[in-house]
């Protein structure tokens, strides 16, 4: 009992602006995770491929963004060019490698292996070209500094921009999926890709486009985090696991699930370290959260029956 009182006592001592800051930072985390998880879940839903290389594309985007920034000195160009290049790379990989395995019996399994192999070689490719140490991005002048302050908490412009970009992209993705024929085909394909073919649609091209789109989103996330974290060869290793957890909690193949779960995980990651005595568990807690969700809802929050089983 005393321990509980003490726990809440210490909790109450935490100043309000600390909470606000952490919620804010959690939103930044969540935004990055949304961009990654959306691609992962669409690729999985449509093609049945668990893309282990997603973290590698995230990293590739960050490096290509750095390179573009270095060459042009313009962050905005980097923000557009790097995702496009990475998306093309992803589409190329889909065309040359993943396409070969769809028809086989163990396509899920072979997809994991191929993308895993890519994630294994990716970091060394970047070390080879860019060196082992982290590379800093320069925050564009327009986004430098503080946007406004609430309760002695400074909201940096850049982080606001990042959150805004992520949510604009969610909106764009939503429009794409709900309002266009391509989106219609993607959603139908997630439900039953064979039937889409039977209805006369060449779904393989849609697969390539979707894989490219997913990797481009990951790359965009990579460029966006550039000014916040240094760009490193190992930056994908860590976030890919977090993204997987987001997708599992949200339900494999579910888009709304990916968004909501990313926001939850983002908050948990930043708020948990505030709790007295429990800080040490902060790294583990998202795994516990995942275990708990799977226990209560075996297919995640919004997962559909039969997907991925």
């Amino acid at each position: 009992m005393e321990a509980i009182i003490e726990f809440f006592g210490r909790l109450a001592e935490i100043p309000a602006n600390t909470w606000i800051t952490q919620v804010y930072l959690g939103l930044v985390n969540g935004s990055v995770l949304i961009l990654l998880a959306l691609g992962l879940t669409i690729i999985f839903g449509l093609m049945g491929i668990v893309n282990f290389a997603h973290g590698t594309f995230y990293m590739t985007g960050a490096y290509l963004g750095w390179l573009t920034l270095r060459l042009t000195g313009n962050f905005w160009i980097a923000l557009i060019v790097a995702p496009i290049l990475t998306g093309l790379l992803g589409a190329g990989i889909e065309l040359t490698m993943l396409r070969r395995v769809y028809n086989k019996r163990e396509s899920v399994y072979l997809g994991i292996l191929i993308t895993f192999g890519l994630s294994f070689l990716g970091p060394d490719v970047m070390r080879f070209f860019f060196g082992k140490t982290g590379l800093p991005y320069v925050t564009p002048a327009l986004l430098d500094g503080t946007a406004f302050s609430i309760a002695a908490t400074n909201f940096s412009r850049y982080r606001l921009f990042l959150i805004g970009s992520a949510f604009s992209l969610i909106l764009l993705m939503w429009l794409l999926l709900k309002k266009t024929n391509l989106g219609l085909i993607i959603r139908a394909g997630i439900s039953n890709s064979r039937m889409v073919e039977v209805l006369g649609i060449e779904i393989r091209n849609v697969w390539t486009a979707t894989f490219g789109l997913g990797t481009a989103l990951a790359a965009l996330a990579g460029v966006l985090v550039g000014p916040i974290f240094a760009v490193q060869p190992t930056m994908g290793d860590m976030i890919i696991i977090q993204s997987f957890i987001v997708v599992i909690i949200g339900g494999l193949g579910s888009l709304i699930g990916a968004v909501i779960s990313a926001l939850i995980v983002g908050q948990v990651l930043t708020l948990f370290p505030l709790l007295p005595h429990l800080q040490q568990l902060a790294d583990v807690v998202i795994y516990l959260l995942m275990a708990f969700v799977l226990l209560v809802r075996p297919r995640g929050l919004f997962g559909e029956e039969g997907v991925g089983e």
Binding site: I185, R187, A188, N192, L199, G200, I201, E304
Partner: protein, 235 residues
């Protein structure tokens, strides 16, 4: 119109169809009957290109279809309403219809298409905004058929449309099939209700263990209970 010659088809190493030959004429309604596991659905899936391991010749209006992908086969004018109906559960009825229409967008307008299918299935119009998973079995069957008509196929293959439906829906679908005959759509139907099959079809094939055993007009089959007894075990 559709001619199969000595078609063999495989699942892995096991052969399902043995030298299947059959024809469907222009605007003709043909029934494919047989016991469970005789190879009825496999025949339809093979024509549609869903089974990659196949030999023999499948000719549709002069186009050799062996080796084509399902999407290419559809564009020659063949539609399939599969046994499981293949509804996109997360899409609304309208969206399901839109997908079906995409392959026919150069042939007719979406309004024309809607008018046509709602004429056949008025029920679908009431459920336009419902997701596929909320539909009853009969509604799903109607949606699946309506969707397959989106590309304006010249031949529609339908796999056991009446299975598990209430008499009311069976009648509705029977009416639709007869109406489609009027529109000069050829039909290849798998149907195990012999009465219904004889009612709708002009010709009947009996298939047994992947081999076509009998071919004849509906009249012959109707007049000859021995044939029904021999191939279906009912008279």
């Amino acid at each position: 119109m559709l001619t199969l010659k000595n078609v063999n088809s495989f699942y892995g190493l096991s052969q399902i169809l043995h030298d299947v030959s059959l024809t469907v004429g222009d605007g003709e309604t043909v029934g494919l009957l047989g016991r469970n596991g005789a190879g009825k659905s496999t025949t339809l899936n093979t024509i549609m290109g869903l089974l990659q391991q196949r030999t023999g010749s499948i000719n549709f209006n002069g186009i050799e279809m062996a080796g084509l992908k399902p999407s290419a086969i559809l564009h020659t004018g063949v539609g399939l309403v599969p046994e499981d109906r293949g509804i996109f559960h997360n899409l609304t009825v309208l969206e399901n219809l839109k997908i079906g229409y995409l392959a026919g967008k150069n042939i007719w307008s979406f309004d024309e298409y809607q008018k046509y299918v709602f004429g056949l299935f008025p029920r679908l119009k009431e459920r336009l905004k419902n997701p596929g998973k909320k539909l009853s079995g009969g509604e799903q069957q109607m949606l699946s058929m309506a969707r397959a008509l989106g590309s304006k196929p010249k031949l529609l293959m339908i796999d056991e449309p009446m299975e598990g439906l209430s008499p009311e829906y069976v009648e509705r679908i029977r009416q639709t099939l007869l109406a489609m005959k009027e529109h000069n759509v050829a039909i290849l139907i798998v149907e195990n209700n012999i009465k219904l099959a004889l009612d709708i079809c002009q010709r009947i094939y009996f298939i047994e263990k992947g081999v076509i055993r009998y071919e004849g007009s509906s009249r012959e089959v109707r007049d000859n209970p021995g044939i029904r007894l021999r191939y279906l075990g009912v008279s």
